[in-house]
């Protein structure tokens, strides 16, 4: 699958999933391809105690309980709503779960302000309707309806970005588990097959934009995914995702562990500064999530690959950091400037690893201001 820029999880990990399916002896709910325990193992990686012949790497990093609660929700009658700050890995977890449960993570509806009920239920192929009239053939089922027909997992990204009436179209799908098509005279109900479920994600920063109705809330189990603050797991995540990106770009470049530490430490510092800030002007606009870190690292890697000497340096990293985080011209730059001179400078005097970072940061700020 080398012609895909980004393969979906079920394609990327097809071999692993095949293997797990072959060794899975536990009972499987509905039409699931793997048992819940194997799903957990696929997402969280295997251990020696699991007694498998091969190692399954960990793909999502976070508290085990969240994964367990998510899997169990999928096996139950309710939909799963993953809620958390941007960049906490909600969509990635949703994709992995869908891939493990039904080998299809592409039945996705993206919630936007322009999402309509048609995107959730069905729409019509107008030319076919004119040619042959309304029939099942001229109908375009939405990804959710396809998931119902196949008994698989449908995904709804950024649920709270879509308007309330659109959200509420999900209520009947989640409780009655069918969609009726009043335009047709016969064969006008699509029933969900066993195994159908919905994984939705919502951004906790969008709270209040389009709040879920209580009726819809009742049909979802909420799993709240916190921002990773544990330095060790964060390092794991960054390393894991960066390796993937490097592979995607086919770049052979080493990320020295010291640079990774610098990146993690700088984000930790900036987060601490943001939580200590009293007004919005005193904190960076960015959420400083793990995804943002990966973005910074990716940017630095690409920069060194194409414009540098193919070695990742602290200065490049600092340049990317400033470039990615400085979004508002006076405020963000001022904060970064304060950070560089107040925190990094004293540190650079003791630890030579930070010297390059300091220089790069200074240059980047000078270039921007």
């Amino acid at each position: 699958m080398s012609e895909m820029l980004r393969a979906p999880a079920e394609v990327k990990y097809a071999e692993e999933l095949d293997y797990l399916e072959s060794v899975d002896t536990d009972p499987k709910p509905f039409s699931w391809r793997l048992s819940p325990r194997m799903v957990r193992l696929f997402v969280l990686g295997s251990e020696r105690a699991d007694g498998l012949d091969r190692e399954i790497p960990q793909k999502w990093f976070g508290d085990r309980t969240f994964v367990e609660r998510s899997i169990v929700t999928l096996a139950s009658d309710r939909g799963l709503l993953l809620i958390g700050d941007p960049g906490t890995g909600k969509s990635w977890l949703a994709e992995l779960l869908a891939a493990a449960v039904c080998r299809n993570s592409t039945l996705v509806v993206q919630g936007t302000a322009g999402t309509t009920e048609d995107h959730i239920k069905y729409s019509w192929n107008v030319s076919m309707v004119i040619a042959r009239g309304q029939s099942r053939e001229s109908m375009i089922p939405s990804p959710i309806m396809t998931a119902m027909e196949q008994g698989t997992v449908g995904r709804f990204e950024e649920l709270t970005r879509s308007t309330s009436d659109v959200q509420d179209a999900l209520i009947s799908i989640l409780s009655e588990k069918y969609v009726s098509i009043p335009e047709l005279d016969h064969d006008n109900i699509v029933f969900a097959r066993p195994g159908f479920s919905i994984i939705a994600t919502a951004n906790s920063r969008d709270r209040g934009v389009n709040d879920l109705s209580s009726a819809l809330k009742r049909r979802f189990n909420f799993v709240r995914i916190p921002v990773v603050t544990n330095k060790r797991s964060e390092a794991e995540i960054v390393r894991f995702r960066t390796e993937e990106l490097l592979r995607r770009h086919q770049i052979a470049l080493d990320v020295p562990p010291t640079l990774l530490d610098i990146l993690l430490q700088s984000f930790a510092d900036l987060r601490a500064a943001a939580s200590a800030a009293t007004s919005d002007d005193e904190k960076l606009e960015s959420a400083l999530s793990t995804a943002e870190q990966i973005g910074v690292l990716e940017d630095a890697i690409l920069h060194s690959q194409f414009f540098g000497d193919r070695t990742l340096r602290a200065a490049t990293l600092a340049g990317s950091l400033v470039g990615s985080l400085a979004r508002r011209s006076p405020e963000d730059l001022a904060i970064l400037n304060k950070y560089l001179h107040g925190v990094v400078e004293p540190r650079a005097k003791q630890d030579s690893g930070w010297e390059g970072f300091l220089d790069g940061g200074r240059q980047a700020i000078a270039a921007l201001s």
């Binding site: 819940p36 309980t65 367990e68 169990v72 929700t73 189990n221 909420f222």
Partner: protein, 946 residues
């Protein structure tokens, strides 16, 4: 230490483990040493002549096994791993509602660094614990002796390498824990050091993390529950004992070598075995009739003093001279969890498991007679206990335990259903939109989660996860989260209470003396007391006591809502919020300091004035408290004398405003109530001399502020008459003022004011100086500081108020706008900063000076400018016969004038002013009024003549 043998009951297991170790690790050495060592430990502990009963804290399985063993064996002597000096407290447990904590407390240290104090040790006791079963059995069964054998509380601190409360003293789950309280209930233990019987937890974080990770659980309590607690719940005595020693030994062998804590643990084991041997030798008891209850960790001990046959000596060091007080304080499940790092809710879950196990097995637990709270009645003693079973030979039960998966008890559907319904009801009551559909979802999710986690039945922890998943949708600040609701569901936090009989004398005395209020002060709710001192004067002592308690206890324990007590002022009605039930610990700890509240208060006040950093104002505060709360002239005299000493020894004047405020109040009080006490006189004379001495320095010194100097002058001028009457000399003050040469503008102004008060600087000159300042553009920016000095001078020289108003007004009048406007904020901040309490005086004076209405403003002339114009000489008014009389007999007036020193002579009158013509015409035209008046006067005079 016995050598490992291949024979004995555990030979087969030992061989099997050694073989496994060889297979896994490649070499048999390291791993097999550990594995075989564990078996050796079990072998040795079980082979010991004195029966060792290993326990774990807050483990219902331990409690159950203990109950069974006590019934079967009926020992005559029980040795318990608890600080030996806590023994006398055990009998008092029956007067309490558990959980309570045994406490040893010392505030006066001898032999420990002074900054460690006060030292406090708590040992919480819950009902669902093995130690409570042992204690209840021993105290309720005649002829059974209970002996506490662990090191005394004094040794706890002797063996502490660092002061209690410092970081990294005790790693997670140690047997000595320093509390990190969170909520109100969790803070019940204060900052005491906790000791606990039967601590069993991995001794290094990696091992615990490993076990948790592979056990797929989140918290240690959960791991324990799943892998030890449940399998052992119905185990027989032998299996229980062997497994517990095995776990103890495992954690003992897998621990960081060379840690200080290991030495402490081993020293404790040496201590306990030595004590037990001593007791056995002294009492001659048969070891077969004895039971040694200790943590499983200590059961697997390998110290050379282990066992009754060992004769290795161990020197028990003497206690320090510290005097320990012992008592019971209330505890709570959350306090225990917070202190010993257990999962929130785990102690409550253990309590619930215990009552369920008791109901299931049909056993009657031992209970102290008269124990309050709880559900079951005491019955352990009444029921005919079966004859003691003979000890059986040790058999290997470990192989079976290790080889078999834990016997899964099936799903208790009814119980789970009950939980689901209850949690939904609870959630609804707490503002969640939960419905029956949620109950169903929780039920399903809990079973699925348990299945995913390899459990046959959902544990309370699985259930809590399921409930959070299905019910919690939003985080609303201030609302209880679902996990907390689950804790409440599983029994919630139980808060213990120390009964009246078990309270120290002081606390009992408080309860007795507050009895006339007619409130149940043992309740944990806030009680409102209404005290009408006029209608029921018998409540006056209650009110007195409440004010004393207010001073001694934490702020929210005794809170006045209405009424106050200040010097010489008492309210007629008072209303109090009393939370003594909730602040039992504070009251009990007060009881360690004395027998009555008054005694403690007296001690505290004495101590307050004896500290190293005490100042005169603190001493005066103590005096004030003594007058206000105790009214003991002797104590007041003593504290006052100390205040005089302190004042004389003071080198700075920072406290002067405070001293002035307090001594003024005290003087006013004493003057009003009787003769002035001797100390007051001494304080005033000392203060007069003291402040005179310091005045020149304070004026010059940049460190002392204007307020301070103002207060000093206030003292000197305000107390002057008293000081002079007591023999001070005014020239001292005059000299001090003459020596003062301040540089700061504010202080210069203050000095001017002082000189004015002393009559050395007339008002006119003062006015001139101010005018000069205002006229000089170089000095104008500093004028606000002068003004600030004048404002401060209102304290010592209140008569200066009109002048200050004048100075301020002329500043406003004469300063040009470019100077005035930037100046205004400075003026306001200066006033606020330096003269907040004097501003009202200033405003009042300004109100008197300035006109009250707008129209009057036009005609208004400032009094100071008006005074500047020469007074017009009014012509002498002819006022009829009086003037005529005085003019005709001038001698007496001349004499009075000479006496008063008035010069000047008589002015001629214009000899009877002409009556206006109009008036005469009017009276002539209407003579009725005049005639009537004349008639009236005549009648009046006639009556007078009558």
């Amino acid at each position: 230490m016995t050598a490992p043998t291949t024979a004995g009951p555990f030979g087969a297991l030992r061989e099997q483990l050694t073989a496994a170790a060889t297979a896994f690790a490649g070499s048999s050495q390291a791993v097999s040493d550990i594995l075989a060592g564990i078996v050796d430990d079990v072998d040795r502990a079980l082979g010991e002549e004195l029966e060792i009963f290993p326990v774990c804290h807050h483990s219902p399985a331990s409690a159950l096994a203990m109950l069974r063993r006590l019934r079967a064996k009926q020992p005559r002597v029980i040795y318990l791993e608890l600080c030996e000096d806590l023994q006398p407290l055990l009998g008092e447990l029956r007067n309490c509602r558990l959980p309570v904590a045994l406490q040893a407390f010392a505030s006066q240290l001898d032999g420990f660094p002074a900054d460690w104090g006060p030292l406090s040790v708590v040992a919480p006791i819950t009902e669902a614990s093995a130690e409570y079963q042992a204690i209840a059995y021993a105290l309720e069964t005649p002829g059974v002796e209970l002996v506490l054998v662990d090191r005394s509380t004094d040794h706890v601190f002797q063996w502490l390498p660092r002061p209690p409360g410092t970081a990294d003293d005790a790693p997670t789950g140690g047997d000595v824990e320093v509390a990190a309280p969170a909520g109100e209930e969790a803070a019940l233990h204060g900052d005491a050091v906790g000791v606990e019987l039967g601590d069993l937890r991995p001794r290094f974080a990696e091992l615990e993390a490993y076990l948790l990770h592979h056990g797929k659980v989140r918290h240690w309590s959960e791991w324990w529950d799943q892998y030890v607690e449940q399998p052992l719940a119905d185990a027989d005595h032998d299996t229980y004992r062997q497994v517990m020693v095995l776990i103890g030994s495992l954690f003992r062998r897998l621990r960081p070598a060379g840690a200080e804590r290991n030495d402490r643990d081993e020293d404790r084991e040496r201590y306990m075995w030595t004590r037990m041997r001593q007791h056995l030798a002294a009492s001659g008891a048969d070891p077969a009739d004895c039971l040694y209850v200790c943590g499983a960790f200590h059961a697997a001990s390998r110290v050379e003093q282990f066992g009754l046959r060992a004769d290795a000596p161990f020197e028990i060091g003497p206690r320090t001279g510290t005097r320990w007080h012992h008592g019971l304080i209330p505890s709570s499940h959350s306090a225990i969890e917070a202190q010993f790092g257990l999962a929130p809710g785990s102690v409550s879950i253990a309590a619930a498991t215990w009552s369920k196990a008791v109901a299931r097995t049909g056993l009657t637990p031992y209970r102290l007679e008269g124990q309050r709270g709880g559900r079951t009645r005491a019955g352990g003693r009444r029921r005919a206990t079966p004859a003691a079973a003979p000890a059986a030979a040790v058999e290997d039960r470990l192989s079976g335990y290790l080889a078999r998966p834990p016997a899964a008890r099936g799903l208790d559907e009814a119980e789970l259903r009950g939980w689901c319904v209850d949690i939904v009801r609870l959630a609804r009551r707490n503002g969640y939109l939960a419905s029956t559909a949620d109950a169903i979802a929780v039920f399903e999710t809990a079973i699925l989660l348990a299945g995913l986690r390899n459990r046959a039945r959902p544990t309370p922890y699985d259930f809590a996860d399921a409930a959070v998943t299905c019910i919690e949708k939003d985080v609303v600040p201030g609302r209880r989260d679902v996990r907390r609701l689950c804790e409440i569901l599983f029994g919630g936090d139980r808060v213990g209470q120390v009964g009246y009989e078990a309270l120290p004398p002081l606390a009992r005395d408080v309860h007795d003396r507050l009895a006339p209020l007619g409130l149940d002060l043992e309740k944990r709710t806030i009680q409102r007391a209404l005290v009408d001192l006029r209608a029921s004067p018998e409540l006056v002592p209650c009110s007195d006591l409440l004010w004393r308690l207010r001073h001694l206890l934490p702020r929210d324990a005794v809170r006045p809502i209405m009424g106050e007590r200040r010097l010489g002022q008492r309210s007629i009605q008072e209303s109090w919020d009393l939370a003594l039930g909730r602040s039992q610990r504070a009251l009990i700890e007060l009881g360690y300091e004395g027998v009555t509240v008054e005694q403690v208060l007296e001690q505290r006040l004495r101590r307050a004035v004896r500290g190293p950093d005490v100042t005169a104002s603190v001493a005066l505060e103590a005096v004030e408290d003594a007058v206000r709360l105790l009214d003991g002239p002797r104590l007041v005299e003593e504290l006052g004398a100390r205040a005089v000493e302190l004042l004389a020894a003071e080198r700075g004047v920072d406290d002067a405003p405070e001293v002035l405020r307090r001594i003024r109040r005290l003087l006013a009080h004493h003057r009003a109530t009787g003769p002035l006490p001797a100390w007051c006189g001494a304080f005033v004379t000392t203060g007069y001399a003291h402040y005179c001495t310091l005045l020149p320095t304070a004026f010059l010194d940049g460190e002392s502020g204007v307020r301070q100097v103002g207060a000093m002058l206030g003292f000197l001028f305000g107390m002057e008459s008293l000081a002079l009457s007591l023999g001070c000399d005014r020239s001292q003050l005059e000299l001090a003022v003459a020596q003062s040469h301040p540089e700061a503008p504010a202080k210069v102004a203050l000095l001017w004011a002082a000189r004015h008060q002393l009559g050395l600087l007339p008002l006119a000159e003062l006015r001139e100086r101010c005018a000069a300042l205002l006229a000089n553009p170089l000095v104008v920016p500093a004028f606000p500081q002068y003004l600030s000095g004048f404002v401060q001078a209102l304290e010592p020289v209140p008569a200066l108020a009109p002048f200050v108003v004048e100075a301020m007004s002329s500043a406003f009048a004469r300063l040009p706008d470019p100077v005035l406007l930037p100046w205004l904020p400075t003026l306001i901040t200066t006033l606020r900063e330096h003269g907040a309490e004097l501003v009202p005086l200033l405003v009042r004076e300004a109100g008197r000076t300035f006109p009250g209405s707008l129209p009057a403003l036009d005609a208004w002339v400032p009094p100071w400018s008006a005074a500047a114009a020469p007074l017009p000489v009014a012509p002498a008014v002819a006022s009829g016969p009086v003037t005529a009389l005085l003019a005709s007999h001038p001698e007496s007036v001349d004499a009075v004038a000479a006496l008063l020193g008035c010069a000047g002579g008589w002015r001629a009158t214009d000899g009877g002013a002409a009556v206006p013509a109009g008036l005469t015409a009017l009276l002539a035209a209407h003579p009725e009024t005049t005639a009537a008046l004349a008639a009236l006067l005549e009648t009046g005079s006639c009556r007078g003549e009558d």
